[in-house]
Symmetry: C2
Subunit: 202 residues, 2 copies
C-alpha cells in the first residue's frame, strides 16, 4: 500500500487519527490470521501487536468477526482478482498480470488460502464472503469465456461455465502448492498453459 502523490494530504485531527488506528489494527489482524487462522488468532494477539488494550480494540471493532471482514476487504483492495483492468487488456493478460503480482505477496495469498478453507468449518463468519466471492468470480470468467466463444476464440467443445470454475479452481489450488514449495511449482506457467489450451490465438 503506497501513498498516492496525486491525492491531497490526509486530513488531520481526531478523524484522521482514528482512521490510522483502524488501518493499523486491520494490518495487525491480517498478520495474525495469516499466521494462526481466524480461530487460532485471538483479539489479544492483535491488540498486543498494535500495543493497545483489548478493550480499546473492541471500540474500533466490536466483534472479532467484524475484524475478519475488514481483513478480507483489505485483501480485496490489495489483489484485484485478475479481472481486466481496462477494455484493451485481454483475459489472458489480466490473469498473467495478477498471477505475477500474487507471487510478490505470499502473506496475502496465505491469508486468503487459510481463511477460505477455514470458512468451511462450523459457524464461521467468513463463509458468506467466500461463497459470494466464488459466485462472482465464476460469473466474471463465464462472461469472459462466453465473449471469446462469440468471437470464435474458445476451443471447440470447451464449456464456458465449467472453464470458468476450472480457472478459479486451478488458481486456488496452484497457490496452495506454491506456498508449500515455491521453488517446485510454476504458478504462472500452469495458469498460462490452461488458458492457451482453451483460448485460441487471435
Amino acid at each position: 500500500m503506497t501513498t498516492d502523490p496525486a491525492r491531497p494530504p490526509a486530513r488531520r485531527g481526531p478523524y484522521a487519527k482514528s482512521r490510522r488506528r483502524r488501518e493499523s489494527i486491520v494490518a495487525a489482524a491480517h498478520e495474525v490470521f495469516a499466521a494462526r487462522g481466524y480461530r487460532g488468532g485471538s483479539l489479544q494477539d492483535v491488540a498486543d501487536k498494535v500495543g493497545m488494550s483489548q478493550t480499546s480494540l473492541l471500540h474500533y471493532f466490536p466483534a472479532k468477526s467484524d475484524l475478519l471482514l475488514a481483513v478480507l476487504h483489505l485483501r480485496d483492495s490489495i489483489t484485484a482478482d485478475g479481472s481486466p483492468r481496462d477494455l484493451s487488456e485481454t483475459l489472458v493478460e489480466s490473469v498473467m498480470r495478477q498471477a505475477s503480482f500474487n507471487e510478490t505477496v505470499p502473506g496475502v495469498i496465505e491469508l486468503y488460502t487459510v481463511l477460505c478453507a477455514e470458512s468451511l468449518t462450523d459457524n464461521h463468519p467468513g463463509l458468506d464472503y467466500f461463497t459470494e466471492r466464488y459466485e462472482a468470480l465464476r460469473s466474471s470468467y463465464l462472461r469472459a469465456f462466453a465473449a471469446l466463444a462469440d468471437e470464435g476464440r474458445l476451443r471447440p467443445g470447451v464449456d464456458p461455465e465449467r472453464a470458468a470454475a476450472t480457472l478459479v479452481a486451478l488458481w486456488d489450488g496452484i497457490q496452495t502448492q506454491w506456498l508449500m514449495a515455491p521453488e517446485l511449482v510454476d504458478m504462472a506457467g500452469c495458469l498460462r498453459d490452461y488458458l492457451e489450451l482453451v483460448v485460441l490465438p487471435e
Copy 2:
C-alpha cells in the same frame, strides 16, 4: 468403512478392545477437526465425543499432533487419490472413479481441505504431511502424463510436469467450490474436461 467378509474375524481380548478404542477416537477426531479445524478443535471435544476422559485419551494419543497424523492416515485409507487401481485402468478412468467417490464423502473432503490450508499457519504439525503428499501426487501424475506422451497421447505442447501440478491444483480447488455450492459446481465434469483437453483419444 465396511467389514471385509473375506477377512478372518477380529481377535478378541484386550488388544482388539484397545484397537477399537483407538479407531473410535480417530473417527471422533476426524469429525471434530472437520467441523472446527485442528487448532479450533480441542482434545476435550474429542474426548467428550467418545465418552472418555482427556487423561484416558492421552493414553492412546500422547499429543494432539499424534491424533492429527492418525486422522490424516485414516483419510488416506478412505480415499485413494485416483491412482490407478490396476494396470488396465487408465488415468482418466481412475480420476473419474475417485472424483465420483469423493462426491459421496463430503465430510472427508472438508477435513482434507480445512487441514491442508490450516497446515500453512505457523508451526502446524500437518505441514510436512501435506508438502510430501503434494510431491508424491505430482510425481505420480507426472509419470502418468509422461507415459501418455511416450504413447503419443499427450496433446502436443503440453508439459507433463505442469500438467501434473495443474491436475492436482484443479482437483483441490474444485473441491472447495463444490463444498460451498454443490448444486452449482460440476466437480467431475471439470476434471473430465481438463483430462480430455490434454489426453488425446486412443
